[in-house]
């Protein structure tokens, strides 16, 4: 995907969120660090342009909820969590760059539940690459990308990487 593809996909997802969630009332966007938070902020901008509503944006770090702590040589690196609003009673749209095994989303849902009691949780991803290991699916998908399990899918965002792109690298 090139920058224009990424922009079109995010704009479409913004429309779909507004359609599904009745004009964005009670919707909050929570991006999963890293990169999911940048995508969440862009979705919020797109929603504002379409419907002139402001949806709050938060950042969630799921490190403490991972299921592989103690299995990697070093403790996984921790990022910031900043959710400056109450998620209870809201429709929380989790935003991530790539949906793969589903383990990150499982961790994110557990983390959210510790922060409050959302009315419902939905999932928006830029890329769904398949190979789920848990019964999890996305509500909003930018693009389905068929991959082999060993491929590397990298999403680049302008804020962190200087450009928008989705790159699939074959296993070496």
């Amino acid at each position: 995907m090139d920058p224009a593809d990424v922009r079109r996909a995010l704009t479409r997802i913004a429309h779909e969120i507004l359609e599904r969630d009745r004009g964005g009332e009670g919707v909050v966007l929570v991006g999963i660090a890293n990169r999911g938070d940048d995508l969440a902020r862009r979705l919020a901008t797109a929603i504002r342009q379409i419907e002139a509503v402001d949806v709050p944006v938060g950042v969630l770090d799921i490190t403490f909820y991972r299921d592989d702590i103690g299995l990697t040589a070093e403790a996984p690196e921790v990022h910031e969590t900043a959710i400056p609003f109450d998620v209870s009673g809201r429709t929380v749209v989790l935003v991530d760059d790539v949906l793969f095994t589903g383990r990150t989303i499982r961790a994110a849902m557990d983390a959210l539940m510790d922060l409050g009691r959302p009315r419902r949780i939905q999932l928006a991803v830029l890329v769904d690459r398949g190979h789920r290991e848990l019964p999890i699916r996305a509500d909003f998908v930018g693009k389905n990308v068929p991959t082999s399990h060993a491929d590397q899918v990298r999403v680049l965002v302008e804020e962190l990487d200087g450009e928008d792109a989705v790159v699939v690298e074959g296993a070496r």
């Binding site: 403490f64 103690g70 070093e74 403790a75 921790v78 969590t81 557990d110 983390a111 510790d114």
Partner: protein
């Protein structure tokens, strides 16, 4: 990161930054309604305290519990130690019970190092004799960075009984590692003779030092650790080295007053001074939990194998 945390002299500047950054995230956890994350579920942390210490033990206990680890508190009174069990046998017993980490406070310098030779788990020094107290130093570094935005180039005075203070040693090493300028201030009898080798300055005149400080760090007068011949009287000490209102007025705008607690109000610090807005003594306590969570997470959160993931 090393496998154990024994001394600030073997913690690098990169490690300090990593520990403080990780603590930042745990500070956020401490502001939630549910102040608990499942990161260390199923791990066991033992608090092995051979000396009384309410605040450090509670801080470590809370830190481990907020990470969902199981905590065992082992104090010397009412335990096998009062029946004469040696440190080694106690350590081996705890090991046999599956302790993943041992937090030790001991009156003998070097006890934590000994422990590392007997057990497979991680050892965290929570204060050993007059040697070191690295977690206190790290929470102090965190508090300084949080309030002043940096550590490099900070001008810090550590005032009081440096000779008997494990806090002063650990904090000096940590500050020097991070590029701060440290001055030790106290009566000549209470400044260790090898202090210049730590990379710090020494002064016996607090009034000459105070006007140039970013942080005035006041040490506790440890009446239990010193036989009173180091200075003639407590009154004389507080007149010559106590942080009084007059001395605080000489501190530059925006500088901090810190103390590791517990305070002797009216001895090393005036009661009014301890309650001033620039005194961040309570923040130090709050930050202590986040720092200890970060350390337990960083030490226990990896498999410990040397192979990169």
């Amino acid at each position: 990161m090393n496998r154990h945390l024994l001394s600030m002299s073997d913690v690098t500047a990169d490690d300090v930054t990593r520990i403080l950054d990780t603590a930042e995230s745990f500070r956020e956890v401490g502001t939630r309604v549910i102040k608990k994350v499942p990161a260390l579920r199923g791990r066991t942390v033992v608090n092995l305290f051979y000396e009384n210490s309410t605040r450090t033990r509670i801080s470590f206990e809370l830190a481990a519990k907020r990470l969902s680890a199981d905590v065992i508190n082992f104090t010397t009174s009412g335990s096998s130690v009062s029946k004469g069990e040696s440190l080694k046998d106690t350590a081996l017993t705890l090991q046999a019970m599956g302790a993943d980490a041992i937090v030790i406070r001991h009156s003998s310098s070097g006890a934590p190092l000994h422990l590392t030779r007997w057990v497979h788990g991680h050892v965290l020094n929570a204060g050993d004799g007059t040697h070191e107290h690295p977690t206190q130093a790290l929470l102090d570094l965190y508090t300084m960075r949080e309030k002043l935005g940096r550590l490099e180039g900070l001008r810090v005075a550590i005032v009081g009984d440096v000779l008997h203070s494990r806090v002063a040693r650990s904090l000096s090493f940590g500050l020097v590692t991070m590029g701060a300028d440290v001055t030790l201030v106290g009566p000549p009898t209470l400044i260790p003779p090898d202090a210049p080798a730590w990379g710090v300055d020494v002064s016996y005149d607090i009034d000459g030092v105070v006007p140039k400080l970013d942080v005035c760090y006041v040490l506790r007068v440890q009446t239990e650790r010193q036989r009173l011949e180091y200075f003639p009287s407590v009154r004389e000490y507080s007149r010559l080295f106590g942080l009084t209102g007059r001395r605080v007025a000489m501190l530059p705008e925006g500088s901090l007053i810190m103390h590791p607690g517990p305070m002797n109000r009216g001895v090393e610090i005036d009661s009014d001074v301890a309650d001033l807005p620039q005194s961040v003594i309570e923040d130090q306590v709050t930050n202590g939990i986040a720092i200890r969570m970060a350390l337990l997470y960083l030490l226990l959160g990896g498999s410990g194998s040397e192979v990169a993931a």
